[in-house]
Every structure is written in C-alpha cells, then in structure tokens.
C-alpha cells in the first residue's frame, strides 16, 4: 500500500518506512544511538529529498528515543544528572557549531569539511571501539580483571574543580567534564548534521567511564531533548518535517526501540560495544566508497548541506 507524503511530495510503499523504522529503532534501543547516520541516507535512497529526510528523521527519533528512554528508565538505566550536564554542553556546542558551518559555507569549503569530519570521526570512533572491546573481551576470557592503575589522565580529571558524584553511573567527575565533552559532541554533531549519539556513546564509555547499560539509557535521554529542539527548528524555519513520513517511521521505531532495550539487557557491555563499532565501521566504508566511486548522476537537490 502506498502513502503520499505531503511535504516530501512523493509517494512511498508504507512497508519501507515501517521496516526502516523497526531496524533503526532496534539499534537505538540496543546502543543508545539515534541512528540518523543510517536512517537519513536510507531515506534519500528511497527517493525522499535530503532536506526532508534529515528533518523528518529527527522527528521520528523523538518517538524512538522516548520509547527507548522509557524502557531503560524502567530498569534504572538512565542517569538523569549526567544527561542534564551533557545536554547543557551539547546545546552550547550546537549553537557554536551552527555558526561554524555558516563561516565554512561562506568560504565555500563546507562540503569538504563536513564529509571529512564525518568519515574521520566515524572511522576513528569505530576502529577504537572495535579494538578496545575486542581486547577487553579476550582479557576477560584469559585472566581476572585487575583493578586498573590510575593513569595520569585520570589524576588530572580528578584534580578538576566542581567534583560531583553521579549515583546511577557510579562515577565521580568534575561537572565541567560532561559539559565540555557534551559541547564537543554538540559542535561535531552540528557540523555533520546528525544527533551525535554514535559520538556521545564512546565519550560516556571511555572518558566518563560509565557502565555500558547506563550509557545507552542516558544517551537516549539526551538525544530525545536534542531531537525535540531540532524538529521544532526544522519545522519552524525550514518547513521540512513530513508528518506522515515521521508517523510511518515511528510506528516501526518505537516498537524497535523496545525490542532493542530488551535484547540489550541480554547482551554484555563488550558485546554491545563491538556490534556498534562494526556498524559504525560499515557506514565508514560505505561513505569512503561513495566519495571515491563515480556517482551515476552528478546533480542533486540543493538545500540543506
């Protein structure tokens, strides 16, 4: 059955967005990512204009992350305090990133910087997570986990002011830490035009040292607020949100997020990390192919970035 999308001005078989929603929602519930880095290109592939694809995806992520946050909150896996600090940083970083894009666009280098940032960030994050989780999985098999020696980095982090305890995550950090790193992810996310979940998750795991299951719930919580803001701005200033497409997507993604959250509880932290790392790496390889292989059509719709 086909549905007509009033803002995208195109018609789509409803099984496509529902199926895509289900698959990406599943990843969302499992890993705490919004999945924009997967969903937006897939929607474009199915004929949705790129600007509408990105804006509508943020609308459906609101639903998927609400569903996911709710599922994780029920089992006590959302650190609201940490999420709030990350949000403050992310919001400030986002504002800064949007200004940066304006400057880049004025110099005419925007596309190059965006694509390169995307590929590098995906590549670095994917590779690091993959190697790290692989080695920690091997370690666990062969030896008992030894208490890690405190590194210089950890000592430096502890010397920062405004130290506070995050009960849910069981960690103590300076309040500045999540704000600064949240800001950093906010800048990158604004440059790349994505929610930044796949960057926020490694920041929480490796820098903030939060347990993986709390990371997923907390990441979803802050993605929810980011996407509410983005959806509103896209609808208000660019008129690019397609309500019907969003509804079709969220029919799948809200259910997918619940299933993901259930599955996630059955998997170990390392297993979750390595699967996410593999997905990120596959997307990186796909992007590298896109950048190097001759495209079949050399023109595309203007607008967005």
């Amino acid at each position: 059955m086909y549905f007509y999308l009033p803002v995208a001005l195109t018609s789509i078989n409803i099984l496509i967005p529902i199926g895509l929603g289900l698959a990406v929602g599943l990843l969302s519930g499992l890993f705490g990512v919004g999945g924009g880095f997967l969903m937006t290109p897939l929607l474009i592939m199915f004929g949705i204009p790129s600007t509408v694809a990105a804006a509508t995806d943020s609308n459906q992520i609101v639903a998927a992350s609400t569903s996911g946050t709710y599922a994780h909150w029920k089992v006590g896996n959302v650190d609201f305090k940490m999420g709030l600090y990350l949000l403050i940083g992310g919001f400030a970083g986002g504002l800064f990133g949007v200004q940066l894009i304006k400057i880049l666009k004025a110099t005419g280098n925007a596309d190059f910087v965006i694509k390169m940032t995307y590929v590098l960030m995906l590549g670095i994050v994917g590779t690091y997570m993959f190697i790290e989780s692989l080695s920690s999985m091997r370690k666990k098999k062969t030896e008992e986990i030894k208490p890690e020696k405190e590194s210089g980095m950890a000592r430096f982090l502890k010397s920062l002011p405004l130290q506070t305890h995050f009960e849910k995550s069981g960690v103590t950090h300076s309040a500045l830490l999540p704000i600064i790193f949240g800001g950093f992810v906010g800048i990158l996310a604004a440059i790349m035009g994505v929610g930044g979940g796949f960057l926020m998750v490694p920041v929480m795991v490796y820098i903030l040292r939060m347990p993986m299951h709390v990371v997923v719930g907390t990441s979803l919580f802050q993605i929810l607020f980011n996407c509410i803001e983005v959806t509103f701005l896209q609808a208000y200033t660019n008129h690019n949100v397609d309500f019907i497409l969003a509804v079709l997507l969220l029919l799948g993604s809200t259910v997918g997020a619940q299933i993901g959250a259930v599955f996630g509880r059955k998997l170990k932290g390392e297993q979750l990390k390595i699967i996410l790392a593999a997905i990120v790496l596959v997307v990186t390889v796909k992007m590298i192919f896109e950048l190097t292989l001759s495209p079949s059509i050399l023109l595309s719709q203007a607008g967005g970035h």
């Binding site: 549905f3 007509y4 639903a63 946050t69 008129h239 203007a302």
Partner: protein, 270 residues
C-alpha cells in the same frame, strides 16, 4: 441604378463564394484531407487529485488528426528555474558537491511522445520553435555558471539524467496508437503520470507534422492538486510551522510513551 449595382455585387459575391468553395474542394481532393481545425485532443484524466493513497496516475491523450500526418504529443509544466548541487572531483580523488548550477527556462515535467523519431519528422528550426525534443530544450535552456559549450552540454545531459531518474522527463517514439477512421486517423496514448510531479497545471499539446513542419496544434490541460488531509498538512507545514512542529513533537512523544506503556503491560515478564 443603385439596386442594379447591388444586385450585380450580390451576384459577384455569390460567384466568389462558389469559386472559393470549388478551389477548396479541388485542393482537398489534390492534397488528401489537409484541412485546418481537424486536429482534436482530449486528456481523459485532466484533474488529478492527490490524496493519502496517491501513487501517481495515468493520463490518456486521444483525438483525431488528418491522415498522412505524424503526431507529436508534449506534456510539460510551465517553464521555471532550478538550482541544483553539482558534484565534482576534489583533489583528483574524492567526489563532492563543488558548487551549484542554475538552470533557467526549464519545465519541471517534460514528456514527449511521437509517432516516429523526432529528428526524422521535424526540422531543427521547427523543433526549436515549439521546443520539441531534448536538443531543442537544450538550446533554449540557460545554464550558469559554465565556461565552455562542452561543459554546458555535459551539464544539460546530467540535468536530463537527473530528471529522468525521477520520471519527470521522458521521450519515446512509436507508442502513439493510430487507427484509420472516416478518412482521418484517430490517435491514442496512455501515459503513466509520475507521483513525483508536484501540484500545478500542465499543458498537453498535440502537434500534427507534415513535411518536417508543424501544420497544426491543439492543446489541453492536466491539473494536479492536493486535496483533503494532504492539502491541510502541506498548507500547515508551509504557513504555520510553529504549530506544525509542536504537533509533530507531541505526536512523537505520545507515540513513544504509548508504545512504552503497551510493552510494559504486554511484556511484564522481561
């Protein structure tokens, strides 16, 4: 005297009419049935309504034409302009958007159907005059910024490729069915109307062609409009972004919570 003159003039004018009619009759016998205003056109589905379940439509174009003429049917939207991103190689290796191109005098939808290949039945001058076929469209289109003719033709070809990929541009020959009917020919073609064609008015023109020239044309219209909820949503997205955004967010939040609740009830065992 006056009466006589008027009688004489009446006789003369009667003679003239008779003569003219005779000449026309002769002419018709000599050139077949080449008479003007013989060409008719009717688009059967001329008011396409876009509702929720719209997935494109079909439009049939039919009419009568003089036998011995070839036919060309053009379906096009009014000319406009389009700005598109162009991809190019950066540093000799990476494909990226390198700028934008401005295409002027371009119809958004452009379909040409003909009984035979355009170049075999129509001269280039006539094709240009009526903008029939891609070469003619290329000559009337302005593309900027391009520096050489080669570059221009490369980007025109890319433009056509881009449009054909969304079914908005098409040309084909030999698909118009013609049947002899009372010394004339009846023509008929069923065309697929792409869902990608946005709401608007589209002009359907049939050209009767003989000796590489257009000898007659007839026009009809296809109107495409959004109706009902589709129209309401599209209008709200455009004119009341804040409300539309608010509703979209509320709906997403409600759906997220709703599904969460259902799963809690249904999946309490987890």
């Amino acid at each position: 005297m006056k009466k006589v003159r008027s009688q004489k003039s009446e006789v003369r004018s009667f003679k003239n009419i008779f003569l003219t009619a005779f000449i026309i009759f002769l002419g018709m016998i000599m050139t077949g049935t080449k008479a003007s205003a013989e060409l008719t056109i009717k688009a059967n589905h001329d008011d396409i309504k876009i509702d929720f379940f719209y997935n494109g439509s079909t439009v049939s174009v039919a009419g009568d034409a003089d036998s011995g003429t070839d036919l060309i049917i053009k379906i096009a939207s009014p000319e406009g302009h389009e700005i598109l991103k162009q991809k190019g190689k950066v540093a000799g290796l990476l494909w990226m958007n390198t700028g934008t191109l401005n295409f002027e005098h371009t119809p958004n939808l452009y379909s040409i159907y003909s009984t035979k290949k355009i170049e075999d039945i129509l001269s280039a001058e006539e094709a240009d005059k009526y903008v029939i076929g891609y070469p003619a469209l290329s000559r009337q289109m302005e593309i900027a910024p391009v520096s050489t003719e080669d570059e221009r033709s490369k980007w025109f070809n890319e433009f056509v490729k881009y449009k054909e990929s969304s079914n908005l541009y098409t040309t084909s020959s030999g698909k118009i069915l013609t049947t002899a009917k009372d010394g004339k020919q009846a023509y008929y073609i069923l065309t697929a109307w792409p869902y990608q064609a946005p709401p608007g008015d589209y002009l359907v023109t049939v050209y009767a062609v003989k000796d590489k020239k257009v000898i007659e044309k007839a026009e009809s219209k296809v109107m495409v409009e959004q109706v009902g909820a589709v129209k309401m949503l599209a209008g709200m997205a455009k004119n009341n972004g804040a409300l539309y955004g608010g509703i979209s967010i509320m709906a997403a939040l409600a759906a997220g919570f709703g599904v969460g609740m259902i799963f809690r009830k249904g999946g309490g065992a987890h």
